[in-house]
Symmetry: C2
Subunit: 271 residues, 2 copies
Amino acid sequence: MTPASATLPSHAIGVFDSGVGGLTVARALMQRLPEENIIYFGDTARVPYGIKSVETIAHYATQIAQFLLERRVKLLVVACNTMAAVAARAIADLSPVPVLDVIDAGARAAAAASRTRRVGVIGTLATVASGAYDRAIHAAAADVEVRSQACPLFVPFVEEGWLTHPATRLTAEEYLAPLRGAGLDTLVLGCTHYPLLAPLIQEVVGAEIALVDSADTVAADAAELLERLGLRNRVGRGEHRFYVSDVPQRFQQIGERFLGRPLTGVQVVGW
Amino acid sequence: MTPASATLPSHAIGVFDSGVGGLTVARALMQRLPEENIIYFGDTARVPYGIKSVETIAHYATQIAQFLLERRVKLLVVACNTMAAVAARAIADLSPVPVLDVIDAGARAAAAASRTRRVGVIGTLATVASGAYDRAIHAAAADVEVRSQACPLFVPFVEEGWLTHPATRLTAEEYLAPLRGAGLDTLVLGCTHYPLLAPLIQEVVGAEIALVDSADTVAADAAELLERLGLRNRVGRGEHRFYVSDVPQRFQQIGERFLGRPLTGVQVVGW
């Protein structure tokens, strides 16, 4: 008989985010690992985290990690750049299962990809202020220079669905101006909302700069890690459960934009 | 001896908002009633409310009202349009002291001011979806037609400090287009952030439309009500206390932009 505490391949991957943005990470995991069970938690009642203090973000992040661990996940994926930026250590300290996060994944991918050894990072105020990407990129490759830029209006534009609107373009031009002509060849989309703006960002920064989407890289890391630990699920199609702390205005519409498929079976946790 | 439960003129006015926006209401109260003690609560950890569900907003609103009532306020002022839109009744039900809110004040001012009997209202998604302004304006004057428009990007633009940026102007032109040519002569700024965009909004809608700022009207209502109840404080200069649930990024800078004066003595409530 298997002891109650043993981790099994059939256990789910726990993915969490401050809201719906992390559904881009869930989507990448579903594409790469269609047999895996996934439990997603989006803290839609308290989103956005990007402007909150470090203490508050860490408190919320550990609360959510506990929630997922109680559901016996075999792996935690921190899909929120802001949480990864300021609470990765706190989450790792309390978790008996491995923890992957979008910052670590994106930083290593960028460090490996850059030929000019100059990498740009865009993210929320909290992510950029934390310096987490700088540290993670330098840990992966000490010779890479990092230029960071906070883009606070990108999340609201994505949630409004203005992905190619002239106002979004004007905003992108202003935010990204300091990154142009800086010799970058790689730009990390350091927020889960930003991949939806990738075509616009690409136009503004120019085709010679490669964009790194952490959702793809963290999904690749998860596949590799589960394989190595002998925890890949290989039976049937994975089940996907979604927990949120609120069902906000336009939730279904915005959630499906991120997930890229119908969003069903959503349960509300009354925190 | 005065019984412990009696309300005294020296008791504070309790003002609350989902974040810093309500500081425009605190500011209007300070200008009109400089002798009054004021306790402000801003739910900066959980801001913004504008996209949350009705249930969650009502839950948070009653929690904050209780917090202020425990501090023996003589009057509650709901400075957040979103909370007033969906939780005014819940707050009134639990409060032993009078409750004023920005929607009721703004609606009555607009109904009284309009000559064309056509009034526009702009606000968050939750405020507009609630229909609260429509109901309040019709209660004040059944013959007034109301046209409403949600402007979800206005709050992020104000918090970014882009009050006159070309991207803000483009956004305002798009949001406000349906309101032009509709025969309006009065437009209610149905969100406490919007007064900071008043010059831009005025330019876009044209000088013939009068803007109603609920902060001013609710402060006038408070003065009149306290006078009538014999609860005006007439001794010395008022003391102002500020409670927040988080000290977010750029809090001081953004808060002072709203309050129009230095923001000191802020205490964090660890919810």
